[in-house]
Symmetry: C2
Amino acid sequence: MNNLLVAQSGGPTAAINATLSGVLHGVRASGKIDQVFGAKNGIEGVIKDHLINLNDILMDTGALDLLTCTPSSILGTCRYKLKECHQDEETYHKIITTLKKYEIKFFIYIGGNDSMDTVHKLSEYCIENNHDIKIMGAPKTIDNDLHMTDHSPGFGSAAKYIASTIKELACDIGAYDIPAVTIVEIMGRNAGWLTASAVLSRMNGGAGVDLIYLCEKEFDYKRFIHDVREKLSQKSGILIAVSEGIRDGSGAYVSDTISSGTVDIFGHKYIAGAARALEQLVRTEIGCKVRSIELSLMQRSASHLASETDIMEAMMLGQKALACALDGETGKMSVIKRISNKPYRVEFDSVPVHQVANKEKTVPIDWITPDDHDVTSDMIDYLLPLIQGEINLKYQNGIPRQFSL
Amino acid sequence: MNNLLVAQSGGPTAAINATLSGVLHGVRASGKIDQVFGAKNGIEGVIKDHLINLNDILMDTGALDLLTCTPSSILGTCRYKLKECHQDEETYHKIITTLKKYEIKFFIYIGGNDSMDTVHKLSEYCIENNHDIKIMGAPKTIDNDLHMTDHSPGFGSAAKYIASTIKELACDIGAYDIPAVTIVEIMGRNAGWLTASAVLSRMNGGAGVDLIYLCEKEFDYKRFIHDVREKLSQKSGILIAVSEGIRDGSGAYVSDTISSGTVDIFGHKYIAGAARALEQLVRTEIGCKVRSIELSLMQRSASHLASETDIMEAMMLGQKALACALDGETGKMSVIKRISNKPYRVEFDSVPVHQVANKEKTVPIDWITPDDHDVTSDMIDYLLPLIQGEINLKYQNGIPRQFSL
């Protein structure tokens, strides 16, 4: 039997099910797979023998279309870090036992850099132990911090949500004529790609984001207050985007300025975010109306604003990973290579996964303006193609229809 | 000259520009108005003589279509409470001076119950002082707390955003198999309509909101923790919707349990929300993974998820207000009367504005389930028609196109 296993891992996105859908479309097109199984909750499902047969979905074009536009991971996810083989032989044994039991010849793991570490270790293990199982990774992360691929599925949709939402917030704030500061916190502990995408709120002219602070640059409180005062002297309502992971000169997270100094009525440490901390700072230092907003889980799960480009590429990367596995490749990840910006053209390829695993791709410092509170036109040229196009969403009862197992 | 003045007031919504667009469509259709002016920032713009001529927009069908789908108030807004005439004769004099200067015969004020108070006072003043100016209100509020109208423009779009977003969050949360609680805070200090709309996340089956707490009911901390524990015994990830204005048995806001007991590193009182307070409570009492999310300004400005029903009704109410003014009515507000739910049918009418001003329509207690943590099928029947249909949004550069003056 030529059976295939597919699994999803890491933080959910609006595009990870599109990659699964791409794998399933590839299975249909190739005619080379007998049975397709999905592991529940990533590699944990393989260890625990929690597999589901996906052949029914495979045959249902309507279901596949719905799956493509459904946010989060329908197979479930995990954050499981596989140890080195010599440290945990038992787990590797369990994994191989499951793979053998279901006669798996191909395994596609959709995820971020932790998942690629799993692909790397497992594929090495299979080669060393003569298990003929081809293991491929397919990239996924809203953070866009994966190396060797121009960008990662999930990022474009999150960026489109962020740009559109910031634009709408700018409209809201612009209705008032009193001095007010709104600080929007965007995901990204170490990579500022998502925060940078706030710049796209300005693309159609009119109101948009006023100040952008990425986690790649040291955050200077005094300079921040100076920047805010300067903007407030020009207009009444100003809008600021900050990465959740901004850090001050000592390397301490800005978010910790509240969480370390604050306890609630139960005496427990209060956990706030970077935007909350800056909200307090503006209140103290400037004293105007100030509000903080976290785009929280919405930015990664907002399929209703998914980028067509992102969803199509996510599918292609799933198909590419399958094609590579069928061609005998293992221990690799499918990637996007950008050929040109105008017109936007990409190619799909694969790279050895050890070049991707356990690394983080951050924003190039020269894509941040010298004043540290904006991004350059190079960044805009990079980002803009990734949010183009809208998906054909089906509504039912007034809300988007979604696939569920 | 038969000139018209229009203004917008109160918190922005996704539908208040649609009402303005409805007024302008009505002007075109009637042929009875010479010049149309917009006051900047509501009644403040009338007091300060900040008027803009809107005739150019009026003639541009493309601009009107774009305006209809643009969130927030393009004329700007204010929160101005007009005093009684005998307390502030000067302000009334300034208003009348502006109205006379621009030869205004009709004034349409789009807003919530504070704005309707202004319509009431001004129309009475005009009658008493023999100024022939017809003043009509058109309703607007995401809170849906206006009396005498079945529902208010802006509410349906916010409800559609909330239901869709909660559904997407439920997908996200459902991907994990560890116990986790997510608490979503929804706008509404005194009226729980918006929070109730979270129930619509369940309409298509599958994951949705698990517990709903409205501000109309006394919030019981012990019962809340009991409810959460019970749900956690049934499933791993649970999703809770709470009104920002929930209060405990003593009448104190839940949000104050943090803001009163917490200071930041600067020694300042920390302002949190109800969901943040409950997040802390769950962390202390249950100890599982817990997260709070505020839908913040997004819920009122998300035009990209506007309800077609809401936007169409918003336009109709603007047209109705104009038609009433042209018919000689004054001191009234245009309203929606629901004829039937299935099929959904409404009529438009007008009511004396003093029946609306300074009152708040809250959720009927018997639309909340006896266990206090959900809503009944009567509520669903009421809400469901209001979020139906999607608007034909124009995208440019990957984000929604919007009108700006």
